[in-house]
Symmetry: C2
DNA sequence: CCGATTTGCCTAAAGCCTTTAGGTAATTTC
DNA sequence: GAAATTACCTAAAGGCTTTAGGCAAATCGG
């Protein structure tokens, strides 16, 4: 019998694609095995559990997102950097809803890769904040504010909370980013 | 055989309590049946499906939260109102993590009760914003900003994102609310 | 108050998902 | 080419969801 060539890597990658197609919650070890035309139990040689699979998908997404954000922010500062960073997150969430949902998956204790990815993300936000000259602890407050707002907006938007009401969500978004920029500029 | 006296109402209520104890994701029709000392299939006379049960729990939580917020905001304005409203959400999330998680449950199409509860929430935020004199569309933008930030913060905080780093999450929170107050005051 | 209807809870069963145990065959290593 | 490793398999147990069909308790009409 020919082998499918499964590895933890490929499963996480395929799981990420599957998540975008059917939704992160619908990603199961069974569904993934079906995709590879393989028996369910076979995947358990590469993945410890269903939660482990999801954690791996989360890592894929978190890393991919950090890479894109890093590229986008490079060479920019101030309002420009802030806007581009926020857009990367939002665009990623729209393009890869399953992967984005995966980034919210928190296993009991995060893996080292996830901790590292998390560090990269907050480091990027801090880089953007360099353009606003804030001291500690204000800088940490600002990181939390930006993270909360951007993530919260994406979350509510994708839940449909802003749909069917004027102004459109697309119109509110840049104005909210503008407001954050103003706020950071005058952070007491 | 004595009857347990199940109704959709009581199941939703018990489901909400169970959610706080074991986590919203762990609330299953089976677990609930076990709590009532009743066969699983019996619940299906009162609840259409697992998703229906979760939607009912979401409605319970959304309504409860709107009630508390309405009480807290009554008779307050400006920064005071904003701060109290935000605290109600955050305290509710800490006290009732399962219920709060339930508020994020979005079934395919929301029930009329959920739509109504959602309307109440945005209406409350609008009431708070009356203290800041904003015209449309700025007011809607501001509603979205506040909703995103408050919800986003609670979400990240409960995921542990802010844990183990200085300043404590409790310290950042009021400063972020302050910053939002300042921002709203000077919304261009 | 009693028979008829409704309603609440039950048993049974099928389908899907997770996870473990233990086996066979393909691949790699020496 | 033999030995060791690795990839995938079959089997099986246990949990959750959901539907179908049945009995008994509560309620209603006369």
């Amino acid at each position: 019998m020919a082998r499918a060539g499964l590895t933890g890597e490929r499963l996480a990658q395929a799981g990420a694609e599957l998540a975008d197609e059917v939704g992160f919650d619908q990603v199961t070890v069974s569904a993934l095995a079906r995709q590879f035309g393989v028996q369910v139990a076979s995947l358990y040689s590469h993945v410890r559990s269903s939660a482990d699979l999801k954690a791996r998908i989360a890592t894929v997404a978190l890393t991919e997102l950090a890479d894109q954000a890093a590229t986008a922010v490079a060479g920019r500062a101030g309002r420009d950097a802030l806007s581009v960073l926020a857009d990367v997150y939002r665009d990623y969430a729209r393009k890869h809803p399953g992967r984005y949902a995966a980034t919210r998956f928190v296993p009991g204790s995060p893996t080292p890769e996830q901790v590292e990815a998390g560090r990269r993300h907050s480091e990027l936000v801090r880089a953007v904040l360099r353009g606003y000259d804030l001291d500690e602890p204000a800088q940490t407050d600002a990181v939390r504010l930006l993270g909360s707002t951007i993530h919260g907006y994406i979350q509510l938007e994708s839940a449909g909370t802003f749909a069917f009401t004027e102004p459109s969500s697309d119109d509110s978004w840049p104005r909210i980013i503008d407001a954050l920029d103003t706020l950071l500029r005058s952070w007491s």
